[in-house]
Symmetry: D2
Subunit: 419 residues, 4 copies
């Protein structure tokens, strides 16, 4: 993260923001049973209870323990359980065994949250700037885990043969099919990218720097489910020529024939969501596709994926807080686009850019320096934000990143092409 | 199972037994949270909730569905979830994914139990003999799952770094160290083994037949923790010559250095149990050892494991219902032996006999014929019954069986030798 | 092995036998290139060159090194390469990496053989009895490896998409289809089984002891390819009810639909052999079937596999040296049976007996004691001998053993049933 | 590849080049036995015989079969065996089973080469331009396989516990330790990168385009073995903070403690090479390190890896044909650097750039279009060329690429830093 000086007045503001972020996490687990919140459905996912506790551990460790004299840990056994990957913080529970921890219970974890919330809000006015920065970081960190909590929960429910709905479906509003893709053209030019120092950003978003983008065109909307069904019908998942070699291996090994959570019966496609299994909406953006699928689709469409800087340059004039993002607990789903280009919300958009450091990047000192830099190989950058991204979390310079086979996030596709 | 004709009076008796068996299962899960009852800790183990539901599915399917006209399934989606391995009953949920089923909840499964209990008790007086036999089989089946429920729960709790205790420890009564092993000698002779047709038995326990046992001696008690600690101290886990080749591979691959759940710190051995982590009692029978370990220990001791017929011949005069077996919910643990030879309770005893069919064995027709016969390769017979075996379930001809590397059951060792 | 006292005269006899055994191994590799002799096609198989060298290492280590003062190893680096599994002989090359050893070359290994042959034949008249016994053991040991060399070579060639023939096919003699299976009946009786001390036997074949066999019938011939084709046509590989649970898992995981090396095209079945791919002969015994397949076939046929003692009792009156066994280098293949019951040659016959020690079994002291005893779990006994067994190697009490999924040996099926 | 028009005179030149390239491959295998040339030591590596045959298949398929009327394949079974990964050319032998093909023999493969050489040289004067381009491409393709042949052979020999030397060691010339690293500085600027259309290049090297490089400094030489030993001594392989997360997982899972082929005994480091095991030369460039190791070293050194464009811009003025590259068969090894900056030879240099397409990249049509584009994910670009790169093959715009854990190539490290 980029450290920001805090004024006294901002402490009140930060206290309100902290309380609000914490409350959303708790609202998200309100419909969950103890078991729903405990089970881990795959190594990539974590239990909801773990997300609740890990985000709390983050505040307790880096703010309370490190900055409050004589602070007593809520439970000295919790750091082993709830540290995620911070090597500097010592040994920790194996990632793939997070689902074994039936105790502490969900109620005990909620009590842990309450205790840390109280301690932090009591202390906040006296915290030094370094700690205040960590509170800010912790809020953004928790927002990231809110999105993971939702997508991990979706994965868990999808593994249950009964396919339970966590929330009732939102009412559907009939929407016209989107217009054909329009193309936003750009000559070769040098652009400024990366965080400009105004407001919060994670360390990997900077330093701001110049980058040369080639002459290109970028689509004014993302690919829809209807378009994706044509790709399927055209044999897209069976034609090796469309795929990266590793992607073709993945398709064959995993037997992939459609986006995650899709099923076909008698020619009708459905998808599973937190509101249960429902028809695929052809007008809505396709989601739950891997980088491999996104790349193969682009090849099939005679296009390519945009680079992260092409995307960022195109998005810089748009409202990062607009669009279909997460405001409250409830089912989340990409929705048919309204008129005009939109770059934020609905789905994270795979770019063709590998996740690597910017010129001059330096991870911050200490354990929180493990936040981003150590993941900079083998993953691709996604831009924009999704229907599961807490509103306010997205920005044009934001860099999300996943491995090319992963698709349990709300991941979609925007096309680009060379001019 | 061996079918038994039932008289009218026996229906009341059976109804009482049914109610009593069902009540014990529910008592066992009383201290569990929804999460405790839902998580699966390894492929070999099942969630407590699954045990509760699967035993209920057994009664519902083979008694109610098959023998009561117009019976409506409690939930038509449950057979897919709760069939264990009956191929004849169709497709079913993958064994290793049983822990994904957070819904139905524990409460919903208990309601399923109540509904099936009511339906069965209402119908029992009018059930045909074939159905009555299946009720009897279902009770014995549920007793087997009670033991698994306890051992699976122990394994789950052991995977939690906090090592929670499910029940408080039973009070310890000081007991003298057992006397040295005495040997019960036998000349070569032909013995009768297998179920004699009096009372219930599983199909694999018969037919009763003659078998020749060689001249041999069998120990009058099982090996103790104290004796096992000497095996460890003597380098037993590091000496390839003591081990079967597959066993040595297992020891090295898994890094095995002691029985399951044992830990050593500063020269003191502790074990984990459902009452938490406590000191190993040197006077109590060793348990949670694999066949490989049992065989290596016997080699180290200059002895061998008994065959299942040597064991059965020696046990025939002893009370199968005596000794340390499970009477009620609560922590279970092998206890130091009282005076005199005992063959039942405390620990299942590995024999040197592969689990294979007896001469003339025929599996019964239909789905319940998959109960035993199809598992007759690669496993070894265990005899006796353990501290987690419901009292009344054991008998001299009972054949338990596990793979040679498995040790999450209460498995121990009795020695034998050639004369 | 069972030690035998040797007279002076027998040294000449043993020298002749030693030379003859050694010569057959070399004849078997005569048509092989250096590459043919070096490559390892799977973990279970070894390169031909390794067999040549390992059998030589056995004589060099246990006879020359241990019994000839001042004997100098041919190459001090060879023991690490060519020890198979003798823990007492120290560290050794990983079994699965035997195919990496392109050097020493085949010619260098043949030179190693010549040197050890010379040294041993020079020394043989002066060897102490203990060493003479080891020479005898070494000859039998090498005969076992001759059979493995042939079956491992067959597996290697089968992995080459070109399916090369190592030898030209033997001329086919038209043979009438065998008569339907006849049944040899036996009342329950106590039989003597195991090696009687006359001549050589491996240690696992004794001690000779009494065993009770139940009333039963055993088939007078093995199952033919034609019969097996009816099993296939009847859906035998697709009917879970016929299979052991582990066997059904194996069939599904491996996609097994026929014996190893069989292929079907346009309704015609062929098999691959060391003479290339040729039509399956319906009159010949089926081979290259696993225990799982043998057991499923027997279930389908309303029969079962014989126990090893039923088999031994039935075979005791028959000529162990008769039938289709290996006399010289060349293609080997089961052949249609001549008239009358035969128990030796063509195919090893799976029994229903787990490979376990006899009453009173004791492995011999020292490294050669690792020969048999440490493999006594998880494997099944096969009896009889095959077309690839060197003639003279078989006997009624001989116990071969493999895991239930293995089928690259010449393994077949004889039925039995209860009376 | 970038197509180039060919003049008549260039056909003679091309014929000479073709003959010369083909001869070097054959010289490389001159010291190999049939077995040496047949065995495959890991999935990533191929047998020498396969390299010889695959490169021949390339010419036979894309030149002779596609451009010579009535050309008869040398052996119609070879395309299945020797196609590498061209999906458009149909099914092919599994990559990991290339070592099973003991037949055809090395001699038969050499005969295949001779036949294709003759056919191609006979036809070359009449080949159309498109075919001539493919001959050119085939020569460059074969040069790539020459380097792989050498590195795959080194890996194979390293798997042999005897560690055989394929060639005698080259005489060592005493060389002074290199001077400390000097830094070549550059302001931020726009540079031209990629192939300029003069002479041959692979398709992935273009199109030529502008790129912005930031202000930075790049080292004037690569990291030496001596410097790497200081990294080891400083605990570099044990400090998680220095490593990418995936790299740290790799180090722990594989137990990595030094570059591939290094061993330490009594404080002395040796390395295995095609001339056997010898002392590590502290003055020579370190090699056989993975991207993960390169990145961790750079972090330890307070630097970073250069991007591929920083490297290319720095290398553009240097002689690509100079330095320690492969001129003939014999042992190859990085050598201590002569004075002055050098960018070619000795070791391929890991860059921090993911291997992705350039703006405007289009794979060529048809099967040869699978050459590069489909591998553009998950791999990193290496620049420069190594001691095993055939001289003439390297150029400033050349893009080699491997996965971050791979290190059996001659891969090394050049540092860079931000200004």
């Amino acid at each position: 993260m980029e450290p920001q000086r805090q004024t006294a007045g901002s402490h009140n503001e930060l206290a309100r923001r902290f309380a609000s972020v914490r409350a959303l996490s708790e609202a998200l687990v309100a419909p969950l049973s103890d078991a729903d919140a405990t089970v881990q459905s795959m190594d990539d996912a974590s239990p909801a209870k773990w997300h609740l506790a890990h985000t709390t551990w983050f505040f307790e460790t880096f703010v309370l323990r490190d900055h409050i004299a004589a602070y007593q840990l809520h439970d000295p056994r919790f750091p082993f359980l709830f540290n995620s990957y911070y090597e500097a913080e010592g040994r920790r529970h194996a990632r793939g065994r997070r689902g074994m921890v039936t105790r502490p219970t969900l109620d005990e974890v909620l009590a842990y949250r309450a205790a840390v919330n109280d301690a932090l809000l009591t202390a906040i006015d006296d915290l030094p700037d370094a700690a205040i920065e960590l509170v800010t970081l912790g809020c953004h960190h928790e927002e990231q885990h809110q999105e993971l909590l939702v997508t991990d929960l979706l994965h868990l429910m999808s593994e249950n043969p009964l396919e339970p709905a966590v929330w009732p479906a939102a009412p559907k509003v009939p929407v016209a099919m989107p217009a054909p893709i329009g193309w936003i053209e750009s000559d070769e030019r040098v652009v400024e990218v990366g965080h400009d120092g105004q407001g919060f950003a994670f360390d990997c978003e900077g330093p701001r720097h110049r980058a040369l983008v080639p002459a290109h065109a970028i689509a004014d909307r993302t690919v829809t489910n209807g378009e994706w069904q044509r790709f399927i019908a055209d044999g897209g998942y069976r034609d090796a020529r469309l795929w990266l070699s590793d992607g073709w291996g993945w398709v064959q090994r995993e037997g992939v024939v459609a986006p995650l959570y899709w099923q076909e019966r008698d020619g009708v496609w459905t998808r599973f969501g937190l509101d249960g299994r429902r028809a695929v909406d052809p007008a809505a953006p396709v989601t739950h596709v891997s980088f491999y699928e996104a790349d193969a689709y682009a090849t099939w469409a005679g296009a390519r994926l945009p680079t992260e800087f092409e995307w960022e340059a195109a998005a810089q004039g748009h409202q990062a807080g607009a669009g279909n993002q997460m405001d409250a607990a409830g089912p989340v789903e990409p929705r048919p686009a309204a008129d005009g280009p939109a770059f934020f919300g609905d789905v994270w958009e795979w770019t063709g850019s590998a996740y690597r450091p910017y010129p001059g990047f330096r991870a911050v000192e200490g354990a929180v320096g493990e936040y981003n830099g150590k993941f900079m190989n083998g993953q691709f950058v996604l831009r924009g934000g999704s229907c599961a991204t807490p509103r306010g979390h997205a920005r044009a310079c934001y860099r999300n990143f996943f491995y090319p086979h992963q698709r349990w996030q709300f991941t979609g596709v925007r096309l680009a092409k060379d001019l």
